[in-house]
């Protein structure tokens, strides 16, 4: 393995070309946020749009709301996903045919998920009807508002429904390998199945879990479909706000959208970098593959 060889760079060329387009897109957006948008007659660098966006009190609220949505949904999804992965491995369910049903939500786009949530959890949804049927509630109003509410319960539910299977798909495979092998070893050394899971299986799955966590976290932070279709009128999640600004018919309004976009980019990349360093640290500890 020669470090100076050109071969790997050549092999990476196509992927890098794609990435270049991607990064061009990001930079282009960021430039526009500083008021550099020729076609709208804007070509002076200015922080105007930022200061105005920050002055409008809604921004911090939007960031807060988005962070809460993504943090809560991702944490719930990861916990559920890991627990289910564990149970699925334990019961051998991963090898059953019915397990495939569990992968279905991965295929379903978020806009459809939104309708699912409304069908089930709105005040006239199936769950409310069931409660009504069972006499738990007398009218629709008594059903806890889960959709279009300021706590974004519906949005969170939607994300959880879609993300848990994704986590299971990634984690269960890895987990069943570790659990069958090293988990057995741990039990044999006196650990109960639960302790074996906590001390051995979980730490070894951690890199993959962290990986999916960062993916779903940043995704739910930046996606507008669910909060737009299931969120309340106010407050608005950051991506929804950005989307609304972006679709503002005035071209000169574009920089406002790009300011919000830039803020999202900065926040997500900050998380990604934090993740990258964290995972590097952990990977140094857990070189499962190198060892196998």
């Amino acid at each position: 393995m020669n470090k100076k060889s050109l071969v790997p760079y050549l092999m990476l060329m196509p992927a890098m070309a794609m990435l270049a387009v991607f990064i061009y897109g990001l930079f282009n957006g960021i430039l526009q946020s500083f008021g550099l948008l020729k076609s709208a007659g804007l070509n002076k660098f200015t922080l105007e749009y930022y200061s105005e966006t920050f002055r409008n009190g809604n921004l911090l609220n939007s960031i807060k709301v988005s962070l809460i949505i993504s943090a809560v949904s991702s944490v719930i999804a990861v916990i559920l996903g890991v627990v289910l992965s564990y149970l699925f491995c334990r019961t051998g369910f991963v090898n059953k045919r019915a397990y495939n049903i569990f992968k279905l939500p991965i295929v379903i786009p978020h806009i459809v998920v939104a309708t699912l949530v409304i069908n089930l959890f709105s005040q006239s949804g199936l769950l409310a009807r069931l409660c009504n049927l069972l006499g738990i509630i007398g009218s629709q109003q008594e059903f806890i508002p889960m959709v279009f509410d300021e706590k974004f319960k519906g949005v969170i539910l939607g994300y959880v429904w879609k993300e848990v299977p994704f986590i299971v798909l990634v984690v269960a495979t890895i987990m069943s390998n570790i659990d069958g092998n090293l988990g057995e070893a741990a039990q044999n050394l006196g650990a109960s199945p639960f302790k074996a899971f906590i001390y051995v299986t979980l730490p070894l799955c951690f890199p993959s879990i962290a990986m999916v966590f960062i993916i779903i976290f940043t995704y739910s932070f930046g996606a507008y479909e669910l909060p737009m279709l299931l969120g309340p009128t106010f407050p608005k999640a950051l991506p929804v706000q950005a989307y609304i600004e972006y679709t503002h018919p005035e071209l000169a309004h574009r920089p406002y959208a790009m300011v919000l976009n830039t803020i999202m980019i900065v926040i997500t990349i900050a998380f990604a970098i934090a993740y990258h360093f964290l995972i590097k640290k952990i990977n140094k500890k857990v070189e499962v593959r190198a060892y196998d």
Partner: protein, 387 residues
């Protein structure tokens, strides 16, 4: 799309336009959320232009703000042959398009049917939300705001804002309206303003927030009074009219509304609304507007677009559009310009279930506000009512 050589066609000769348009495809962009509307375009209009002009219509379902966005993007990149040939537009969006030089025109003079069937001097054809059209748009259809409820479930049909308040008090938590800037929700707020302060007090307002605020203050107070009796105590509102419709269909609320007077018929027909649903309007009237068709400045197939617009303006198309099962959109042709045979096309149309007769609608029809005042009202609503 178009294969015609731009500039080579003498558009004052409609025959030449049709010749250039023959065999081309027109990319028709517009809102696509209604099965009926889509179906009418796909099944009637498309068929008509195919048979008569040999033109294909490619309907692209897209919201108008997104369409404008696309046009702006193309302009930003200096695209000469754009992807949009024909666009369904009106009001504020038309204003934006004009301000950004996005539209082709004036073109109405090229259309034989425009002069032939349309009352070119009526305000509704000359102005779009208070903006002068100047031949950059051709009328497509007319709409009017109506309320919808089910008299069998809740007998009272409110004749005014005051009655509506009582109604809401009686059925606490089961009345609401979509949050502006939803198109219908915004219209609802304007209707309330008309009813409380009167159309004349607001129709000449300029786009000055202070001035607007002072003018509509009584209506804002009314909405504040209404708020606690609304669905979820007015803490949140349906974000789209669709959501409100579904809530009405499911019985979660007892009243909905629409900017399409025939909407109720369509919903009853598909079984979504209860059979006994009925539209109603305030005694002081409700807002009506006209929606239009326009051609982007960089359209690749201008001739095709012209031909399609001309087709839209035929009595046949206008009448088939008026049929409730097809769409139920109010016609824009001037009845006085039609011959008997053509008039018969319209009189033969049976209005749908729950729809108010056209005479009542037209007699209680109020004009739209200036387009640039609308966002200011929406902003005020956000600040005063929402928070």
């Amino acid at each position: 799309s178009g294969s015609n050589k731009k500039g080579a066609v003498d558009r004052t000769d409609f025959g030449a336009v049709l010749a250039a348009a023959k065999g081309t495809t027109v990319n028709f962009y517009g809102w696509g959320g209604s099965e009926l509307t889509n179906k009418w375009i796909d099944n009637y209009l498309a068929k008509y232009v195919k048979e008569n002009y040999d033109i294909k219509i490619n309907r692209v379902p897209m919201d108008i703000d997104q369409i404008l966005n696309k046009m702006i993007g193309e302009k930003q990149a200096n695209v000469k042959k754009g992807s949009v040939d024909l666009v369904w537009i009106n009001g504020e969006n038309f204003n934006t398009a004009m301000k950004n030089d996005l539209l082709f025109g004036p073109f109405t003079d090229y259309l034989p049917n425009y002069e032939k069937y349309v009352d070119v001097n009526s305000d509704e054809v000359k102005y779009d939300f208070g903006y002068e059209i100047n031949g950059f748009e051709a009328p497509y259809g007319k709409a009017q705001f109506v309320f919808i409820n089910n008299p069998e479930a809740t007998p009272q049909a409110s004749k005014s804002a005051e009655e509506l308040l009582e109604y809401a008090k009686n059925y606490k938590g089961r009345v609401t309206y979509p949050a502006p800037p939803d198109f219908t929700g915004s219209a609802f707020v304007r209707n309330i303003i008309y009813d409380i302060v009167g159309y004349d007090m607001v129709k000449n307002l300029s786009a000055d927030k202070e001035e607007v605020y002072n003018a509509i203050k009584p209506a804002i107070d009314y909405l504040k009074e209404l708020k606690p009796y609304l669905w979820k105590e007015g803490k949140t509102y349906p974000s789209t009219i669709a959501q409100l419709d579904n809530m009405y269909a499911d019985g979660e609320v007892i009243m909905t509304m629409s900017y399409n007077p025939n909407h109720v018929a369509a919903m009853i027909q598909t079984g979504q609304f209860p059979e006994s649903s009925q539209s109603f309007i305030f005694d002081k009237g409700t807002i009506g507007n006209t929606h239009f068709l326009a051609i982007p400045a960089n359209a690749a197939n201008i001739d095709g677009a012209l031909a399609v617009i001309n087709a839209v303006l035929t009595p046949q198309m206008q009448a088939s559009k008026y049929v409730p099962e097809n769409w139920g959109d109010l016609p824009v042709v001037d009845m006085n310009k039609l011959n008997e045979e053509e008039k018969e096309l319209f009189t033969a149309v049976k209005i749908g279930k729950g729809v108010l007769p056209p005479e009542e609608l037209l007699s209680k029809r109020v004009g739209e506000l200036k387009a640039d005042v609308v966002p200011i009202i929406e902003e005020i609503w956000q600040e005063e009512i929402m928070k």
